[in-house]
């Protein structure tokens, strides 16, 4: 345990680096944890004092994010990605093997404080899984041999920097490139165009291109930017963010935010964009800043992609040196800079208003909408939030105009879309397609001969069976943020739906009851069926709860949390039916087993110390 002076020093350093600004609380907590291994109570006290905020706010934020710990969690923390694809590729067995060899229970730190082995939501590596985060750094392509070596390294206490480099190798796996990834854009061309054409000129091109957001919802980018550009900070509704921002006098401050949370299971295309095309993304953000008149931008990078943090900061520094970022960009008088904020393991922070809360150093709880971020975003100011891919495309459109882009794709879905393809296919990876491509075509290209089902757009999207493979990927038909998970004929779709249900139950932010309770009841119902105790009554209950969760939840997470269950009940009923027992009712837990602990404690084994299910 670190002593009080060490704690104080760590807090002082982190807080000072972030200007003692409560809006940077998430970043401060992360740095304190880096220094101390976890965030002890004393650190919470110190942070509250330095930032002059209530202690409960600090503790509340610490408790919200999965990657923050209030107690030691092992010198090595190994978290296996729980994505269904990796699950099917042997994640449970690998995790079990590692636990057995290290003599630890899953999710529990070893007695000597050496190691903790557990699971975490999809880490964006399902094209090269099974994968795990080791002290936050992804290790890919796990197999029994790799697990064995990792066990030895852990037991010998070898620091991560001395582990074999190929363990940490993350491939782009770019399989099909089109206009975005296939035709390089000269560095700075987008920014130059933005400076030359000005706000109106660029906005007209974006509008002409028909570009729609690539994060999933598909909102027209030009409309969003125009709303933000026109939004005037009236100081109204500032109660939602506190009195500090009620500033009627100053000219309206606006922000550009890039959503790199990429938490939808099975999605990893933003990882590839950030790894190999970050300049394009930053360029797009700068273009957006020029259009709406922003001086400050944020890249909200999911904690799982932390391994890209230094590299991205390096690229930002280079852009500043090249006059593409910072004060007086390209001598035009336009100034804009970008800061990278790291998330800390929370899928909900991909939802734009939760993301903004997180940027402001709070728990990632979605806000009421309206007002929308375009008028009341970061610190209550007009803010544009877009997906990584949207910005990359915007940079291209700024440089090359909107016309050529509009000619690609379909009427309402112009241009190309990056797909993250994983699962039962020969060539998983990132594929760029013009919108309108059929699922069948994609399956043929990635080498999925034996597909039974495809989960399009991740757990919150749509699952389709063989009969629907001629459907098209486009906002007009199958909208997608890019996740494309393939299941072959041997796969059990029920298990996929169950995995997704536990994902949502785990990631529900807990703010509203329909989702917090509903997602857990759905998970429990699926677990009951999986254990062979499900009845038709349980299925009816799943449907009822699913409808309720969908209709009553506060944000998109809860509204889609029941999709996997409801859709698979509809389309893959056979996978459920074979598990059900023909009884009117069955208790949801093993009654006699639930008495076992008390039997052990009391030493009883008489008839009254048992109950039967019937």
């Amino acid at each position: 345990m670190p002593d009080n002076n060490t704690i104080l020093l760590a807090v002082q350093t982190a807080a000072a680096r972030h200007g003692n600004d409560p809006a940077n609380l998430v970043q401060i907590l992360r740095e304190v944890q880096d220094a101390l291994g976890h965030i002890p109570e004393e650190a919470v006290d110190d942070i509250a004092r330095f930032l002059d905020i209530p202690r409960v706010r600090v503790a509340g934020v610490r408790g919200f994010y999965h990657f923050f710990h209030d107690r030691p969690h092992g010198r090595y923390e190994i978290l296996f990605s729980d994505n269904i694809i990796e699950h099917l590729q042997g994640k449970p067995e690998l995790l079990q093997q590692m636990c057995t060899r290290l003599w630890v229970e899953p999710e529990r730190m070893s007695e000597d404080g050496l190691v903790r082995v557990g699971s975490t939501s999809c880490i964006g590596m399902s094209d090269q899984g099974p994968a795990a985060l080791v002290n936050g750094v992804p290790v890919t392509r796990l197999n029994m041999e790799r697990v064995e070596t990792m066990v030895e390294l852990v037991q010998k206490g070898v620091p991560l920097s001395q582990w074999p480099a190929d363990f940490f190798q993350v491939e782009d796996n770019l399989r099909r490139a089109d206009v975005l990834l296939g035709e390089p854009l000269e560095r700075g061309a987008g920014v130059r165009a933005a400076v030359e054409k000005g706000s109106d000129g660029i906005l007209a091109e974006i509008d002409r291109s028909g570009l729609r957001g690539r994060g999933g919802a598909g909102f027209k980018t030009a409309v969003k930017w125009d709303f933000c550009r026109k939004a005037v900070d009236t100081g109204e509704e500032c109660s939602i963010v506190g009195p500090k921002v009620c500033d009627n006098t100053a000219a309206t401050v606006r922000y550009v935010v890039c959503n790199a949370d990429e938490g939808e299971p099975g999605t990893f295309k933003d990882r590839v964009l950030l790894n190999s095309h970050a300049d394009l993304v930053f360029e797009g953000m700068t273009v957006a800043a020029r259009v709406i008149g922003a001086r400050q931008g944020f890249l909200y990078l999911r904690g799982e992609y932390r391994y890209l943090f230094d590299k991205l900061n390096g690229i930002l520094a280079q852009r500043r040196r090249d006059g593409l970022l910072g004060e007086n960009i390209l001598g035009s008088g336009f100034s804009f800079d970008i800061v990278i904020h790291l998330g800390a393991g929370a899928y909900i922070c991909g939802e734009e208003s939760a993301l903004i809360e997180s940027l402001e150093g709070k728990r990632g709880t979605p806000r009421n909408r309206p007002p929308f971020p375009v008028t009341h975003g970061y610190l209550g100011k007009p803010t544009v939030v877009n997906n990584v891919e949207t910005y990359a495309l915007a940079a291209k459109i700024a440089a090359k105009g909107g016309e050529w882009f509009a000619a690609i794709g379909t009427a309402q879905s112009t241009g190309t879309k990056l797909l993250s393809i994983s699962g039962d296919c020969e060539r998983p990876g990132v594929y760029e397609y013009p919108f309108g491509v059929t699922v069948r075509q994609v399956l043929a290209d990635c080498g999925a001969q034996d597909a039974r089902a495809v989960q399009v757009g991740g757990p919150s999207g749509t699952i389709i069976g063989e009969g629907e493979f001629d459907r098209r990927l486009a906002f007009e038909d199958l909208a997608t943020g890019g996740s494309f998970m393939v299941f072959n004929r041997e796969r059990d779709i029920f298990e996929a739906a169950r995995n997704f249900s536990s994902f949502f139950a785990h990631e529900s932010c807990g703010f509203c009851t329909p989702c917090r309770v509903g997602s857990t009841l759905l998970k429990k119902g699926m677990d009951k069926i999986a254990s062979g105790h499900g009845t038709c009554a349980d299925v009816e209950e799943l449907k009822r709860i699913g409808q309720l969760t969908r209709a009553m939840s506060h944000c998109g997470l809860g509204q889609t949390a029941a999709n996997p269950v409801l859709q698979t009940l509809d389309k893959f009923w056979g996978d459920y039916e074979k598990r059900l027992i023909s009884k009117e009712f069955e208790p949801s837990f093993d009654l006699d087993k639930a008495l076992a602990v008390a039997r052990r404690i009391t030493g009883r084994d008489d008839a009254w110390a048992h109950v039967s299910a019937d």
Binding site: S588, V597, W608
Partner: protein, 181 residues
């Protein structure tokens, strides 16, 4: 009406505090009105030990031990309509707060470390109901037909619920009788 056979009702409290029963009594003089139409089987008001064939069974409290299961199953077997009344029966309620505490720690706290305890022993008499490792809402153990939420549900909600049921209608409660903020 008096010609008609009376509706037979049984009630009991499992892992509850009898607060819901108290709230039931709060219908006050309307109880007499009710008794024109119903008669009681097993309830805390009668001295009947086992529930016989009934029309309506009303359960307060969740399931925390083996005896609760036996009682609950007896109710389910004998009652045409089974009603979960109050937060504990519906969700586990206050007793379920112990679900986050290891049972062994609970026992130790009660029998070993409690104030004034010396050489405390953990009782193991077969007559004592054995506690489950967790407290459960009753719908996890038997099929439940109706849920009447509240901690406790107000007397008016109970009255409305029962009179609807007696009138042969699906009980319907106004939002005002169901929300507590």
């Amino acid at each position: 009406m008096s010609e008609q056979k009376k509706i037979r009702v049984a009630t009991c409290s499992l892992a509850g505090c009898f607060g819901c029963h108290m709230s039931f009594l709060d219908i006050d003089e309307r109880l007499l009105q009710l008794l024109e139409h119903i008669e009681f089987d097993r309830t805390p008001l009668t001295d009947i030990k086992h529930c016989g064939p009934c029309d309506v069974g009303i359960i307060e409290g969740g399931v925390c031990n083996s005896e609760n299961v036996h009682v609950l199953k007896e109710f389910r077997k004998n009652c045409k309509v089974l009603v979960a009344i109050g937060a504990c029966a519906v969700n586990g309620g206050i007793p379920a707060v112990r679900n986050n505490i290891d049972l062994w720690e609970c026992f130790q706290e009660v029998y070993h470390y409690g104030i004034g305890l010396k050489n405390g022993q953990i009782p193991n008499d077969p007559e004592l109901p054995l506690p489950f490792d967790q407290v459960h809402p009753i719908y996890e153990v038997v099929k439940v037909d109706y849920f009447l939420p509240g901690c406790p549900p107000p007397a008016d909600a109970i009255w409305k619920f029962l009179t609807d049921l007696l009138a042969g209608k699906t009980p319907k409660l106004e939002y005002e009788t169901l929300h507590y903020d």
